[in-house]
């Protein structure tokens, strides 16, 4: 049986703007967004997906590729998979969510196989589904999204949400960069799948990830959680962008003189590398990989070798300088707070998926490597798309509903100077890149940084809106700024070390902090403690 999908309707296309009418609008076209769009369409919704870049190449997965938390449904294997990471995550995970993500990831991965994803098979002919090649996976997802009848808007960053008179989300509006005009989509529900925030650090594929979805959701009143778990730093060659870290498990790390740096390692010793980098250059060499391992590495991550092959370095026999690039919430666990099994946020009609949403439910306070983010993106995308389609169906006809633009900073005329996105972004980077501020946190330094960030916010929120060419940069910088303030406010509130959050002034894990930190607000940023009470989540509507 071939299924018929209804398409979203193009309402008008006057000079300067294009308007669509849809049931569900998905913002972001990485794995989370494409799974959400397909799932919403399969649940009967007319769907538009808008991506800042190109759906299929944009985002962290398309460029990087991911391991996937795919575990056969064998009870002992599942149990081990869940138990294995609880300590690392600081015991903030939720077993029920871990189990449903494992189930959903298994189903979605097998769906990918049915769609023709070229999974390898091992020596015994058993298919292996715990890794996805980024370009291959996302090319397939684009194709399936189109086949599901979804209207894709490429190079179309969302700038702000539309909300009706009752505070229910009613769509979004943004730019069409290559057409030089604007888009608006009237929708009954919106899924935020805009990824995390990596602060333009050039970590692989992530410069499109500036926290835009956080900002526009916050402007509609959404809340965040676990934003202190936002200081993931990844290893890359010092000159390059390829922050693929798995193979550094076979590396030795040395200083300028060639002496091994005691305790330095990719897993469990990355903070030692950060400390060493503050003193001088650090070098790596993958000297523990034997010939067979080297062959497996080559075919498994061709992108890992680009920086080496193109500079004539043999990473197995030669030392090369490395650095740590900030990945913020991309391989952190903070994000939009979700309140039920359908990944609804605190704002009616607004759903969140992938890195835009918190991953605390399955990762607690730590992800780094380890396949959970990819599993979360496909699972939460599926649920958010389904939830949004259901919300749209229940809302029924919305003819004549008024929609109001909720964008603030950078979008409204102010009496200050024009907002300079480039300069603001650099000022935010100065607060979030340094290891002594973000990797190694301490009350005094966090407080001073927050004062500077709050000052930047107050200046920026009085600034005048820049012209069309600079608008995207300005909104991106504002989103980075807002993200940094939720991060550091949350980091101050957690007076202990847990997961990836490490406090010089509170180096131990402290049982009194075995709770979540909720945050929110724009002009006034707030935090509050939220207990690990899973009863508050309603049962699955599946």
């Amino acid at each position: 049986m071939t299924k018929r999908y209804d398409r979203a309707e193009k309402l008008s296309s006057s000079a300067g703007s294009i308007v669509f009418d849809a049931d569900v609008l998905v913002l972001g076209g990485g794995p989370a967004g494409t799974w959400a769009a397909i799932s919403a369409a399969e649940h009967g919704a007319r769907v538009v997906l808008a991506d800042k870049g190109f759906c299929g190449t944009s985002g962290a997965t398309a460029a990087a590729g991911t391991g996937v938390w795919y575990v056969d449904p064998v009870p002992e294997h599942r149990e081990a998979a869940m138990a294995g990471r609880e300590k690392l995550g600081g015991y903030l995970q939720d077993r029920r969510w871990m189990a449903r993500v494992l189930d959903r990831t298994y189903a979605q991965s097998n769906q990918l196989a049915d769609w023709g994803y070229p999974y390898p098979a091992d020596e015994d002919g058993k298919p292996q589904r715990n890794s996805l090649q980024g370009p291959e996976y996302m090319r397939l997802m684009r194709k399936r999204t189109k086949q599901a009848g979804v209207t894709i808007l490429d190079h179309s960053p969302a700038l702000e949400l539309l909300v009706d008179g009752n505070g229910v989300v009613a769509g979004a509006a943004g730019l069409r960069r290559q057409k030089g005009d604007r888009w608006a989509v009237n929708a009954k529900a919106v899924v935020i799948a805009t990824g995390g925030c990596a602060f333009l650090s050039k970590t692989l594929g992530s410069n499109v990830l500036t926290g835009d979805g956080y900002l526009l959701a916050a402007e509609a009143g959404a809340e965040f959680t676990s934003m202190e778990f936002s200081n993931a730093y990844a290893i890359s060659p010092a000159f390059g962008s390829v922050t693929k870290t798995l193979f550094y498990s076979w590396a030795s790390f040395t200083d300028q003189q060639g002496s091994v740096i005691p305790g330095a390692s990719s897993k469990g010793g990355r903070s030692v590398i950060a400390r060493a980098l503050r003193k001088g250059p650090v070098f790596a060499q993958l000297d523990e990989a034997d010939a067979e391992t080297q062959r497996h590495m080559r075919v498994s991550q061709p992108n890992f070798f680009l920086p080496f092959d193109r500079t004539g370095i043999d990473p197995f026999t030669q030392r090369f300088p490395i650095t740590l690039r900030l990945e913020g919430t991309v391989r952190g666990t903070g994000g939009l707070r979700i309140v039920d099994d359908s990944c609804a946020t605190t704002v009616p009609g607004l759903y969140a998926a992938g890195d835009a949403a918190t991953r605390e439910l399955i990762c607690g306070g730590f992800t780094g490597g380890g396949s959970h983010n990819a599993a979360w993106a496909m699972s939460s995308g599926y649920w958010a798309g389904q939830g949004a389609a259901e919300f749209a169906r229940q809302l029924g006809a919305t003819v004549g509903r008024q929609a109001f633009r909720r964008g603030t900073i950078g979008l409204r005329s102010g009496n200050g100077r024009t907002l300079q996105g480039g300069a603001l972004a650099r000022s935010v980077q100065d607060e979030v890149f340094p290891y002594e501020l973000n990797y190694f946190r301490e009350a005094g330094r966090l407080g001073e940084s927050l004062n500077r960030l709050d000052g930047l916010w107050s200046e920026a929120s009085h600034a005048a809106s820049p012209d069309e060419q600079e608008l995207l940069r300005a909104r991106e910088a504002a989103a980075m700024l807002a993200t940094a303030r939720w991060m550091y406010r949350s980091a101050l509130a957690r007076q202990e070390s847990r997961g990836m959050h490490r406090r010089d002034d509170y180096p131990e894990q402290d049982d009194r902090y075995r709770h979540y930190v909720t945050s929110g607000g724009l002009d006034d940023v707030w935090t509050s403690a939220r207990p690990l009470v899973w009863a508050q989540y309603s049962e699955a509507a599946e």
Binding site: T57, K202, G205, V208, F239, S241, L306, P307
Partner: protein, 106 residues
């Protein structure tokens, strides 16, 4: 960062203009231009999608580099990433060659 559009090979299909996530290229009447090099995030994806092996992304993410295009062609560097991931006929078996399952858990 993106450094080269090779005019000898480029057929002006504009695929790179479409697929670049950070909108680095601009269409023209002829072959595209690298209009915003400093926006390049060094993701190498334009190279993967260029059907003519006409693009070269330097691995240096933070600074432009001087490039010897003739030498790159001589060494068959243009198109090397496409061949490595199996996106050309000769090497399409590599699409399913992922051995990550042998490497995880080290």
């Amino acid at each position: 960062m993106i450094e080269v559009i090779d005019a000898e090979r480029c057929t002006a299909c504009d695929i790179c203009v479409n697929v670049c996530p950070t909108n680095v290229f601009d269409k023209t009447d002829g072959i595209p231009t690298i209009a915003r090099q400093s926006d390049c995030q060094t993701c190498f994806l334009c190279e993967l999608y260029c059907p003519e092996d006409a693009l070269f992304v330097s691995p240096f993410a933070d600074a432009p580099q001087a490039i010897d295009v003739a030498a790159l062609k001589e060494a068959a560097v243009l198109g090397s990433y496409r061949r490595a991931v199996g996106w050309v006929d000769e090497s399409c078996h590599l699409r399913a060659a992922d051995r990550s399952y042998r490497l995880f858990g080290h």
